[in-house]
């Protein structure tokens, strides 16, 4: 498994260059192993038999399940050839028993010249007296790595920018109260602008 994880991290993901920095990005954030086919948690095994790693891939436009599978298989088949007795499966979509990621979020790439974007920017300027710090990609590379429901809405033909308060997490999770207040004001003004 350790060799496989290293190989997965070293996989060259086929993609085209994009304006959001730091993508594509791959991370294994969760591993379940030594629990048999049913992931039985009632005991501790002395022999590892089967191990499942959840490989999360932040995608850019053009990447598909098929391209990702091909890239991972290319790496893992080479490992298999070098290690008799080792076998693997790539499962997609995620089985429901894992209670995670039933669907994929596609990448989001919406032009900024949408009325709703203009309405948010206008509301922000009205409340703060200045332009937003950014319109387009997120402020940080980390922010660009997560799929969100805006992409489903945009795929359905609904312009759907993200605008919401931030904070911090990983221990005593918090939101900034002044950002919550600012967002409420800007959202209200954007609704007045859009809906009359």
């Amino acid at each position: 498994m350790i060799k496989a994880i290293t190989a997965i991290y070293d996989t060259n993901l086929t993609h085209q260059l994009w304006t959001v920095e730091g993508l594509p990005w791959l991370k294994i954030g969760s591993i379940i192993g030594g629990r048999g086919e049913d992931y039985d948690l009632r005991s501790i095994s002395r022999n590892s038999d089967l191990c499942t790693a959840f490989v999360a891939i932040s995608t850019v436009p053009g990447m598909t399940v098929a391209t990702i599978r091909t890239d991972l298989e290319h790496t893992l088949d080479r490992l298999k050839a070098e290690n008799p007795g080792f076998d693997y499966q790539l499962v997609h979509p995620v089985e429901r028993k894992f209670r995670t990621w039933i669907l994929d979020h596609p990448p989001m790439d919406m032009p900024v010249d949408q009325d709703i974007v203009r309405a948010l920017v206008s509301g922000y300027k009205q409340v703060t007296g200045h332009e937003p710090r950014g319109v387009g990609p997120p402020a940080t590379q980390l922010g660009g790595r997560y799929g969100d429901d805006d992409a489903h809405l945009w795929e359905a033909g609904i312009p759907a920018p993200i605008y919401g308060p931030s904070g911090g997490s990983y221990g005593d999770d918090y939101a900034d109260i002044d950002e919550m207040v600012l967002c409420s004001k800007v959202l209200a003004l954007a609704a007045l602008e859009m809906c009359g």
Partner: protein, 211 residues
Amino acid sequence: MDPEAAERVLQQIDQEELVDLGKSLVRIPSFIGEETPLARWVASYLSARGYEVELQEVERGWFQTVATVKGSGRDPSLMFNGHLDINPLALGWTRDPFDPWVEGNRLHGAGIRNMKSGVAAMIHAAEAIRKSGVSLAGDLVIACVLAELQGGLGTKHLLDNGYETDAAVVTEPYGAHHVVTKHGGMTIFPYISRVGIPAETRSMVLTPSPR
């Protein structure tokens, strides 16, 4: 936009009320698959204030909340969209995560960052409009969806059931000083490694561990 109407709406934004709403959302745990009690609470909160509310059963016994402020005319419709499901608790909590508290400019509590603060902000924005008495010509939809952390099952269900507004704002925690229109997608592949096990030890795989 009518400046007088805008001013009346902004006057209704109340920090204390907004924070209290955020706290109420935190107090009801809503881990993935367990959003229904919070969906019911949000439905009750909005129904009591005169919104047209639908509790949508996405799967048997699994609900999300959609409220609508009906517009008086034919202007474009807008959706505020936020998810009720929260991530598993990370390490490092120093207090009860479901008993929210304020410290300085920070509202603490389980799931407040991703994204009960955004849900509170969008509901409070709709409330500010309602309380101001300003009427909208287009519909305003408040969608408090489930399973965003499972890839967006709730929003997909919403779209499949006719909630197709002219525009939307998703109040994810990307920050109040940025409007985000592009970012990566997310695909998850469970990778299963099968290690060959000698036949004579195979029966030991699920035996209890030695003390």
